[in-house]
């Protein structure tokens, strides 16, 4: 397979990543702001993307702001907040049609760059703060988002598992922010936080699509400046707790289906030598429909529609999740625990190891076909100080042995079993 060509340039207070690719009919531009995950200011940080995506000084009304994007052939703007280990990353994403596919070859890319710049660096201000009406309304929106997490039981169960399991660690913080902070946030205080974020966060800008590299550089040079910012890495190293005893937590809500989530510690992070063994481990244990969890909890015992696992690459967590009838809690739990034991005992074949490697590789290649997927892979690598072409990543996965997978299983420790169940079901 082709090695992804990535040009990285140090610019005026940010790093520019250019990724020429003929796979897409659009151009994707992504700006990633990274800061340590901290309780202080977390709600401001969650609120900011909402406010920034409402108006700029150039397009001060919400409707004219939206109309500007529509006029640029429905250019899409979105943002999301996520944890990379114990760092809080806010990504702003813009996708604009590649002008070469338009009838009249209208030069819309430059306008799109300008708009994107204005969203990040020239938001609508009133005196010394953001527009108070916008801030007030967006606070309500965020509050709404915070309370409605409870309506999505899978996300809610995951959130509660993290609350219990990572208590006292920055990782337990909620990237959506906290309701109790809302009343103290003013248009001015939010603007102060914004100015600090704009100056101090580590900023990486990715541009991907079918274009001339020089043209991209010219455009970013024209519109993106962060003078006075040194763009230093502000990485906060994740806490890696040594687990002595696992705990079990049962919570009750009005639900039809119980949500059984288990949290393990892997003590393995992106960039570690045995990270590839973790990928293969997860594939055999719960990452695919051929995995132990799916085959046993679902296919063999018909207890669930889904039973799977995934891992967090920067914090070193492995999470199992399944939806089961409240009365089947004990049985489902013991089947899941048995599957982990089976992994530790090497109860899987060489053939399974080989097949799983191919699946992991397939997944990686598919991810890299997607513009945002590719950016995530490269950003992960950069954060971990790794510069490895795709071919090398694939070779490393191919090199994993059964013994290494067993060693990985032995390294993994159960931390917390969490069950969200109905008022009647499960044990006390």
């Amino acid at each position: 397979m082709k090695i992804t060509k990535e040009t990285i340039l140090e610019k005026d207070g940010y790093r520019l990543h250019i990724l020429p690719s003929k796979k897409y009919k659009t151009m994707n531009i992504v700006a990633k702001f990274k800061a340590p995950l901290k309780r202080d200011g977390i709600t401001e940080r969650a609120l900011l993307p909402h406010v920034l995506q409402k108006a700029t000084n150039q397009h001060p009304s919400v409707r004219s702001f939206q109309a500007a994007f529509e006029n640029l052939y429905g250019t899409a703007l979105s943002s999301d907040g996520s944890k990379k280990g114990e760092n809080h990353v806010i990504s702003f994403r813009m996708e604009v049609v590649n002008e070469s596919y338009l009838n009249d070859n209208e030069p819309i890319l430059e306008e799109a760059f300008q708009l994107f710049h204005n969203v990040l660096f020239d938001p609508k201000t009133v005196e010394n703060g953001f527009d108070p009406d916008i801030v007030e309304r967006e606070k309500q929106t965020l509050e709404q988002k915070i309370t409605s997490i409870k309506d999505d039981k899978m996300s809610y169960a995951n959130l509660r598992l993290m609350d219990h399991m990572c208590k006292g660690e920055p990782y337990a913080l909620h990237v959506h922010g906290y309701q109790e902070d809302m009343s103290s946030i003013t248009p001015e205080s939010l603007y102060t936080y914004y100015q600090q974020m704009i100056k101090q966060d580590m900023l990486d800008v990715y541009v991907i699509g079918d274009m001339d590299e020089k043209d991209v550089e010219t455009l970013t040079d024209r519109y993106f400046h962060r003078s006075g910012s040194t763009n230093e890495d502000n990485d906060q190293v994740s806490v890696s707790k040594d687990v002595q005893d696992s705990s079990e937590i049962i919570e009750r809500e009005e639900v039809n289906q119980g949500k059984l989530h288990l949290g393990y510690r892997t003590y393995t992070k992106f960039g570690d030598d045995d990270y590839y063994a973790l990928q293969v481990f997860n594939g055999i244990f719960g990452g695919f429909p051929s995995s132990k969890l799916f085959m046993n909890v679902r296919e063999k015992h018909s207890l669930a529609y889904y039973a799977a696992s995934r891992f967090e690459s920067h914090k070193g967590l492995l999470l199992v999740f399944s939806g089961v009838d409240p009365k089947d809690y004990d049985q489902a739990k013991s089947i899941i625990l048995d599957q982990m034991e089976a992994m530790k005992n090497g109860d899987f074949t060489e053939e399974q190891v080989e097949e799983t490697k191919e699946q992991v590789i397939n997944q990686l290649k598919e991810t890299m076909d997607n513009a945002n997927g590719l950016i995530e892979v490269l950003y992960h690598q950069m954060l971990s100080g790794i510069d490895m072409p795709a071919d090398q990543l694939i070779e490393n996965i191919r090199g994993v042995t059964k013994e290494q997978v067993v060693q990985m299983a032995e390294k993994i420790k159960l931390d917390t079993i969490y069950f969200l169940t109905s008022h009647e079901g499960g044990e006390e």
Binding site: S21, K25, R63, E70, Y73, R137, Q144, S148, K150, E299
Partner: protein
């Protein structure tokens, strides 16, 4: 093999109808690592009453059977087909909708073997009493999962409010009770009636060489025996044009109430370009008034009647159609009442030419963005094909639309009797 070239989009589709009636479409994208294959039958949850192949009498099968059949096709006498794909480094999946059942894989290697596996497993059913019983527990948990999802409940509740008799009102997976009635023989009856190649479409998109891929598919199909293509007799109950219940609500443990306004669309005799034009116009008009740049959205948002969760969609398909607008609301009664009024106001409104051009540009851009996805191309191409629409001809149709068309459409779109309001209310002991 016929070649369809779409110059502006720089795409070429290869198509062929095989001797057994199977329609095959191929799209080559050598710059992608991935290949996506999807094998679709024109059979979904609404096809509940039909005359089985080789019989004279109509039968009505249990609710949720198309979806049940989708699950069971993966299980063979000696193995689970997921493992076959696993061995080939691919990932497989399937879905059932109102009108379709589709089986799919994505792979970055051994593409030809994966295509064969896809064709072979779908065309070689094995159902046993034992495995049918086993599946009931799994699907019951799938249904329970949806029961806890307020968005799904509000979407389906709205459809149930719109329709009196039509099986579109039946949950795609059926109910925990209805699936208990399903037998092995029911599955074979449905399979034999609806899985004939002449009722199916195969679309393969991605890193493929069209000539050799078509040869492989042709040979694979040539080796199998099928009876002559049956004529499928499906039947649907008479359905009035007015909504079944104008107002309805359920309670659930939600933090915020939800209100949905549904409009039943009259789709009788609608297909091909006419259907596409209506779908596009409806989307663009709703977008103009109810997306974030819209006057109605702004009013509702500022009055705190809606939040970011507000959504709208129009779905037009064979035999049914609906438009649904709504989302979370702290004042659901007020929101529903105001949205209904707004829909009525549309009748006398006209979008200025300049604004209409903007909406066209937006639609074109959305379409181009979607074309980055092999999954979108293959799914949507198949869906449109069954309705007599060519996905890659959507662009010229968008170009051809005018503000006059929108005005014309709005004039007789809304029928007061076709509107239903559905709400999900928080339980009284919660917030």
């Amino acid at each position: 093999m016929e070649e369809l070239v779409y110059q502006q989009l720089n795409e070429t589709v290869y198509q062929e109808t095989l001797d057994n009636g199977l329609k095959v479409f191929l799209l080559s994208k050598p710059e992608m690592a991935k290949t996506f294959g999807i094998f679709t039958t024109n059979y979904g949850s609404i096809d509940q009453t039909f005359t089985p192949i080789g019989q004279d009498e109509k039968v009505t099968v249990p609710e949720g059977i198309a979806h049940f059949l989708e699950h069971k096709l993966f299980e063979k006498e000696d193995r689970d087909v997921f493992q076959d794909f696993t061995r080939l480094g691919a990932s497989a999946n399937a879905f059932t909708s109102f009108t379709k059942t589709a089986y799919l894989f994505t792979a970055t290697s051994q593409v030809e073997k994966n295509v064969q596996t896809l064709l072979d497993f779908v065309q070689d059913p094995y159902f046993s009493e034992e495995s049918v019983e086993k599946e009931k527990g799994i699907i019951a948990q799938e249904i329970r999962m949806y029961d806890d999802q307020p968005d799904w409940r509000s979407f389906f509740g709205t459809i149930q409010s719109l329709y009196h008799n039509h099986p579109v009102k039946v949950d795609i997976a059926g109910t925990v009770e209805s699936i208990q009635e399903i037998t092995k023989d029911d599955l074979y009856t449905c399979y034999e009636t609806f899985y004939h190649p002449s009722n199916m479409v195969l679309f393969v998109a991605g890193n493929i060489e069209p000539e050799s891929m078509m040869t492989l598919i042709r040979e694979n199909q040539g080796q199998k025996e099928f009876p002559p293509a049956p004529e499928i007799n499906r039947s649907y109950p008479d359905e009035p044009t007015h909504a079944a219940r104008k107002e309805h609500s359920i309670t659930m443990p939600v933090t915020t109430a939800k209100a949905m306004v549904g409009v039943k669309e009259d789709v009788s005799g609608l297909k091909g370009e006419e259907l596409l034009r209506r779908e596009l116009l409806s989307g663009m008009i709703l977008d103009y008034y109810f997306s974030k740049s819209g006057a109605f959205y702004e009013e509702l948002y500022k009055a705190d009647l809606i939040d970011d969760s507000f959504q709208f969609e129009t779905e037009l398909d064979r035999h049914f159609g609906f438009t649904i607008l709504g989302g979370d609301s702290r004042k659901p009664d007020e929101m529903a009442a105001r949205v209904k009024e707004m829909l009525h106001e549309l009748k006398d409104m006209r979008i200025a030419d300049e604004d209409f051009t903007r909406m066209k540009r937006k639609k074109i851009g959305q379409f181009m963005r979607a074309l980055n996805s092999l999954e979108f191309i293959a799914n949507q191409f198949t869906h449109y094909h069954t309705l007599g629409v060519d996905l890659f001809e959507v662009l010229p149709v968008i170009e051809s639309l005018t503000a006059d068309d929108a005005e014309e459409y709005l004039k007789d779109w809304l029928n007061e009797e076709a509107i239903a309001v559905f709400q999900v209310k928080p339980q009284s002991n919660e917030s």
